[in-house]
Amino acid sequence: MKILYSLFSRRRFLNGLLAGLGTAFAGTFVGPVVRFVTPPYREPDEVKLPLAGYKDMAPGEVRSFPWGIKPGFLKRRDDGSFLGFVGVCTHLDCNVAYKADQKKFFCACHDGWYDEDGRNIQGPPPTPLRRLTAVLEGEELVVRKSEA
């Protein structure tokens, strides 16, 4: 069948083609740029600490250590083993402080509180502090991300 008049002018076709190609061309740059502006994750998988700095901790005592570029805390359990926390509030990411006199972690940003085992007990924090496992390997204390 022959259509007697054009449904689509040559001008419109070419404009559409050009715009489409232009968009596709520009689109190929979006992915790389988006990836460029979001760098990879940098939290450590594990941190090795000299045991000497933590051996003398009494049961129940809490001490800080550097978890990569974030603060971490180690608590000595009653059986002598260690329990680790990432010292970063689960509400909106502020660094928490350990208040030894009250045996609680405190976040000054919106008055959030955690007990000595990192459980959120008051204020806006929605979940407990993230836990880390700490195991003795020779003269080193190796702190790792918890599986669970």
Binding site: V37, T38, P39, P40, Y41, R42, E43, S64, P66, I69, K70, P71, G87, C89, H91, L92, D93, C94, N95, V96, A97, F106, C107, A108, C109, H110, D111, N120, G123, P124, P125, P126, T127
Partner: protein, 352 residues
């Protein structure tokens, strides 16, 4: 002299612009006073550009040097303290005038047809101004600015789907680091000024094209307001206001120079009494009050979605209030006032 002027006139045709300004009428009526707010914002923005460029001569946007470079500006560089103080106070003055401008437009309903896009570009200008303040607050890199930025950049995370990425993008990674500082600096000094100027161009173009609005009642009654020529009559009056504001700004800047806390330490706990800039206090207080969980959903997510919804409603206000002279228009005005009261109340509460 007149030959030189004629030479330029032949090429630039400036007299057309002057004629346009003389022709343009600013209507005189009971709401005219609010027309002064727009140009006041421009004055403060101009001051931000000038003082910001001066600061950038000595400021160093790196983790190690940022705080020390500001200390140097404050203590060693001639007039450094006042340049910083003016930049910091003019930011506050600018945002106050943006708020006043916006509220006056909302309450006089000057956004009504055909000025919807003028309002929307204005709402975006508010967002850009707030983002200016937010990025600027990190630059001194002291304890307070670090804590405020950690919280502020963590907030998008609560948004479903794109939130995680937005937080990563703002921070330049999963955490606030030196990369965040570089990013905020470049946003603050190049990206935001360009975006602001672009939006401003559209905003001002629309204002020229559509002319100044009349009060709603006069428009309904078909009245005409007496007018005043924009150039030079109205501009001269505006200039008087600018001088008063400038005097006020400099007085405040001299008397209350901003402080500089100890350098931020990524490992240190957040300092007690953390507070964001005053224009974010109502959000801060809202976040503090929201419980950890509402039903199954985190309180944060609900708070953030509510805030987002509020922002969207503000942006679309002229479309929502499409029949301003009817009962619906009154309800919209009441809702706007209620929101204003909420924001003010929360801000005051956060300071108690």
């Amino acid at each position: 002299m007149s030959k030189i002027a004629a030479w330029f006139e032949e090429r630039l045709g400036i007299s057309a612009v002057v004629r346009f300004g003389a022709q343009k009428q600013v209507p005189l009526h009971k709401h005219t006073i609010w027309s002064y707010t727009g140009s006041a914002i421009l004055v403060f923005f101009g001051i931000q550009v000038a003082t910001g460029i001066l600061l950038a001569f000595y400021y160093r946007p790196t983790l190690e040097a940022a705080n020390a470079s500001l200390e140097r500006i404050m203590t060693e560089i001639s007039f450094g303290w006042i340049v910083r103080s003016i930049h910091s106070w003019s930011a506050t003055f600018m945002i106050i005038t943006v708020f006043v401008h916006l509220v006056s437009v909302a309450l006089t309903k000057a956004y009504r047809k055909p000025r919807e896009l003028t309002w929307m570009t204005g709402a975006l200008l508010l967002a850009v101004s707030l983002f200016f303040g937010f990025t600027g607050y990190l630059l001194p890199w002291d304890e307070l600015s670090l804590a405020a930025t950690k919280v502020g950049t963590d907030i998008p995370k609560a948004v479903p789907v794109v939130g995680e990425w937005a937080t990563k993008f703002l921070r330049g990674g999963d955490d606030v680091t030196g990369d965040t500082l570089s990013r905020f600096f470049i946003l603050h000094v190049t990206v935001l000024p360009l975006v602001l100027l672009l939006l401003l161009a559209v905003h001002v173009y629309l204002i020229q094209k559509l002319g100044m609005s009349l009060p709603l009642e006069s428009e309904i009654r078909g009245e005409k307001a007496p007018g005043m020529s924009f150039w030079p009559n109205f501009v001269a009056r505006e200039a008087a206001v600018w001088l008063v504001l400038l005097g006020l700004l400099i007085t405040v800047a001299v008397l209350f120079a901003p402080s500089l806390g100890p350098p931020a330490d990524l490992m240190a706990p957040a300092p007690e009494g953390v507070k964001p800039e005053w224009y974010f206090l109502f959000l801060f207080q809202t976040l503090k009050l929201f419980p950890a969980k509402v039903g199954f959903v985190s309180g944060e997510t609900i708070a953030v979605l509510l805030i987002g919804l509020g922002a969207l409603a503000l942006f679309l206000l002229p479309l929502i209030d499409n029949r301003p002279e009817t009962r619906k228009g009154k309800i919209v005005a009441a809702a706007f006032l209620a929101f204003l009261a909420y924001a003010l109340g929360m801000s005051v509460w956060s300071l108690l």
